[in-house]
Structures are given as C-alpha cells and as structure tokens.
C-alpha cells in the first residue's frame, strides 16, 4: 500500500496579509509558514493508516526551496520520504499536472490532500488530479476508513453529511475531524533530517490563469455601538440605515 499526501506551504492562520511590489507580490515579511491546516489533517490520517496497514507514506509539495522546512516537518510527523517539485505553484492546473506526473510514475493507492489551500482557497487541485489520472476524487472528506480495497468515507455537504464508498485507488480532499493533528516528537524531528527529500523539475506545462495583482479589502469604519438598554435602536438601524431587515 502506497500513500501520497500533498501539502501546501502557507502563511500561518493568524498572519496579516499584505503585498509588496505595487501589489503584485505577497509580503513574506514577519510571516510564519506552516503546513496547510487541512493538509495537516490529511497527513495525520495518513500516518494513522500507515501504522494500521503498514503502508509507505510520501509527502509532496510543488514549491521553491523555501518550502523544504515544511516538508521536513511532515517527515518529522511521520512521512517516510518527500518530493519537492521545484517551481513556484503558478496556478491550480499547473500544480495538479505536477502532482499527476509524479503519481503516474509511482502508482499510489491513496492520494490525500486538504479540502483547500488556505492561501488561494480553490479546493480544486484534488478534482483536477482525479480527472487527469482518471480516478475518483472525493472532497471534503471528514472520515476515511480502509477495509481491503474498499474505502468508506463521510463527506460534508451543506447542512449535513453523506456516506460515500469507493475502491482504491482514490483521491480525497480532507478536513477535520478525520484525525487529530500530530505534533512531531524529538525522535521524529531527529529522524526527519536524514529521511530522503528528492527534488524534481516540473514538466513544462503552461498555466490557465495568472494573478495580475492583489487588492486588500477596504478598511472597516468604526463600530456603531448601541446601548444595551435600547435594543430596539439596533433593529431600527438595521432596518433604516443598513436596510437589511
């Protein structure tokens, strides 16, 4: 059994988002980068499956050299080896093509991703990879159990969930509560240093979209406070000023 987990290298969830170079580049100044929170759930579930089924576990990132500490962290959490496709992740299609190319060479039984990246929030890469490989893709998955060739999942839908069954090979976009995030221990951190991290060059595929420039939302004005003994005033404001009632 071979498992691949695709991880993003993204700004920590508390980061202040700013841009430089005339709003064309993300400002990394003072920003801490982490494994995408949803990717972390995928990785945590993969580590559990690896222990349960004796699987091998590879992590993959499409990114420049700066993402290697994030890949090392995934190795410390429990992946056996890592692959970095050496390119800025230009758009979801580009990333999906890189992942599909690696997957074609290695025949993974299960490819886990996050439901979405928290930088561009597309929630698109898993479906694209599924279509490129001709495999089913299921997302967002909140439970995933493997019984032989069979995979039993729970998928979140608006207002609830549905149970989904499929067979391997399969791609899933994960979210909580699929597993608890795993924190690397000292032994994991030590062994991660010597685990293989392979760097490969991207296939020269074009992109479908380009980011032209970034825009920040307009600053919020000051809050209008209403006295707690005059709650009716809030309703009047919502009705007459905001016109939302």
């Amino acid at each position: 059994m071979k498992i691949l987990v695709c991880i993003t290298h993204v700004p920590d969830t508390t980061s202040k988002i700013q841009f430089t170079d005339n709003n064309t580049k993300f400002d990394k100044n003072g920003v801490q980068f982490i494994i995408g929170p949803y990717d972390d759930y995928a990785l945590a579930r993969a580590v559990e499956l690896k222990e349960q089924l004796g699987a091998s576990l590879t992590v993959l990132n499409v990114g420049e050299a700066e993402t290697e500490p994030t890949l090392r962290k995934a190795l410390a959490i429990g992946a056996d080896d890592a692959i970095r496709v050496n390119s800025f992740p230009k758009d979801s299609l580009f990333v999906a093509k890189q992942i599909a190319a690696i997957a074609r060479q290695n025949n993974y039984d299960l490819i886990l991703m996050g439901r979405e990246s928290i930088d561009f929030n597309g929630g698109m890469v898993h479906g694209m990879v599924g279509e490129l490989l001709g495999l089913p893709s299921v997302s967002p998955v909140m439970k995933l159990e493997i019984e032989g060739e069979k995979v039993k999942m729970a998928r979140e839908i608006e207002g609830g969930k549905e149970d989904v069954e499929a067979t391997l090979p399969l791609i899933a976009g994960c979210q909580e509560p699929i597993a608890e995030w795993k924190i690397p221990n000292m032994r994991g951190i030590m062994s991660a240093r010597t685990k293989p991290l392979v760097v490969v060059e991207p296939t020269s595929d074009n992109v479908a979209t380009d980011v032209f420039s970034f825009v920040l939302p307009p600053a919020k004005g000051a809050v209008k406070l209403v006295d707690k003994d005059n709650v009716g005033e809030l309703v009047r404001l919502l009705k007459n000023e905001a016109k939302v009632l």
């Binding site: 479906g127 997302s139 608006e158 825009v215 920040l216």
Partner: protein
Amino acid sequence: MSVLVYIEHAEGSVKKTSLEAISYAKALSEKLSSGDVIAVALGSISSDELAKAGTAGASKVLHVNDSKLTEGIIQAHAEAVAQVYKKVNATTLVLAKSSLGDAVASRLAIKLDAGLVSNVVELPDTSSGYKVKRSIYTGKAFAETQVNTEHKILAVRKNAVDLKTDGGSAAVEEVLLDIAPENFATKITSTDKATGEILLPEADIVVSGGRGMKGPENWGMIEELAHELGAATGCSKPVSDIGWRPHHEHVGQTGVKVAPTLYIAVGISGAIQHLAGVNSSKYIVVINKDPEAPFFKAADYGIVGDAFEILPKLTEAVKAQK
C-alpha cells in the same frame, strides 16, 4: 455561443445560490454579449420548478432527468455537464461555489480545457484581456486573475451579483445522455442532512453563537432570534469541537465561509480564524459582554452586554418591527 450554468437542487427546489449563479451569468452575458444563458439540471426535479430559473435570467433549462444523477456523484455530474456544455456550444460555465460545485468544477476544468477561477466576487473586467476578481487568503484579500484560455469556468461566491427576479419563465427541455458506468464508481450509501432549515452557506442572515453562550441548553435563544429573522444558525469552532452544535455549523478558517448580508455574532470573541469565515459579510453585528473583544473591530454595529439579557429583547424588537 452561450453561457451554461450548472444548477443544484435540494428538497425539490432549485438552490438560491444556483439562482444567483444564473443572475451572474445573465449579467455576464449582457456585458460581454456571450449569447443565451442556459441552465443544466441533473436528476429528478419537477419541470415547473425548473422553469423558475427563468426569473433569474435563464432562457432555457436543459434537464437531464435521470434518477441516477439525483445524488451528487461527483464524476457522473462532471461528465454530464461536460456533455451538455459541448452540445450547446458554450464558451463559459458558471456555477455557485458549494461542496458539490467545487468538486465538479475542478474535474470540468480538465475535461473542457478551461481556465477555472473559484471564489469569484465580481463580473469580469474585459477592458484588457479577461480579468476576474476572486477572494483569496480566506477573505483577507482579493486577486485580479487573468484567464488565458478560450473556455472559462467561474465558480461564483454568494452575493457576487444581486439576485435577479424579474426574468420570464424558462423553457424546460429534457435531454438524454449516455454516461459511462465508470463515472458511478463512488456510491453514496446514506445521507444525513438537516431538512426544512435554512442552510448556513446559503443564508442571507446568520445568527452565530460562541463559547459565551455557556452551553447547548442556551441555544434556544439563538434559534428564536434566527427564526424571527429567517436566518440560519452558526457557531464558533470550540462550540462544535465540544459538541454543543454540529460540525457543519462551524464558521471560520477551518469551517464554513459565509457571505450573508447580515452576520450576528453572539458571545464570540472574534479570533482571526473565526473572522476569516465571516469577513465577506455585508454587515456584522456583535453582541459581547467584553468591550475589548476583538470582534468589535470588525463589526458595523455592536452592543456591549450580557447575551442572556440582550437576546430575548432583540428577538422581541425584531418581532415588533414586523
């Protein structure tokens, strides 16, 4: 030439977010002269209901009335929509962002060789090229995105355009498709879903409670206010983590991202991860006993005070204004 809209339905009705997607497509087609707006609906649903897509701007609805497609099997839906897209010679596919929509759109991007933009918040700017504004960093910023491909897929976020209600009735035509069995490789074995409720991701008004509500036994107050407002209920992450509320109600960075016209947050501190799910709301009201709660900085209106005193009064005041 035409714009195709993939619409979803639940409990016998077309989803409101899908009607918004149709309104978006109509505005797009008027702006760029891209021809008729045609909607495609999959699975069992009445023709009368589908004809209502016309009010939002569709001239025609193609109905693939195959009961195997009533459930949202991702691959099968993608294959069906791709076939219809080619049949009607569409150049653009529009759909509402949703759990199923995202999954289907990403597969269609490959099938149709189309540039896909998700979280679209405005009509494209075509003054030079084809630029689409989309929300990124969980609502903390926007990216002006150039689409280079001939075919385009736009997954539209709630409130990107106003819902159009003045269109006519759409012609409904049944279409037969041949969808290969391998597209049904995943099976939905059971569905567990709230019925009759206003669903959080689609709601115009959301009333959300945090840890300040102290316990699940106090949620009646949240529900009563929501009921008076015709709102959906939401919560913060710890509230769903402890099991006071179901997971699908949790709003934020790791939960549902909402974009209602009004978001009312009660007893929620306003951590950055929670704000990430709500900062696309048009108006935010915060009720919190702590005047220093960070949520007030993101709010339009606020009341400093005890939720347990304020909520019943607010519900009464809403009733009174009707």
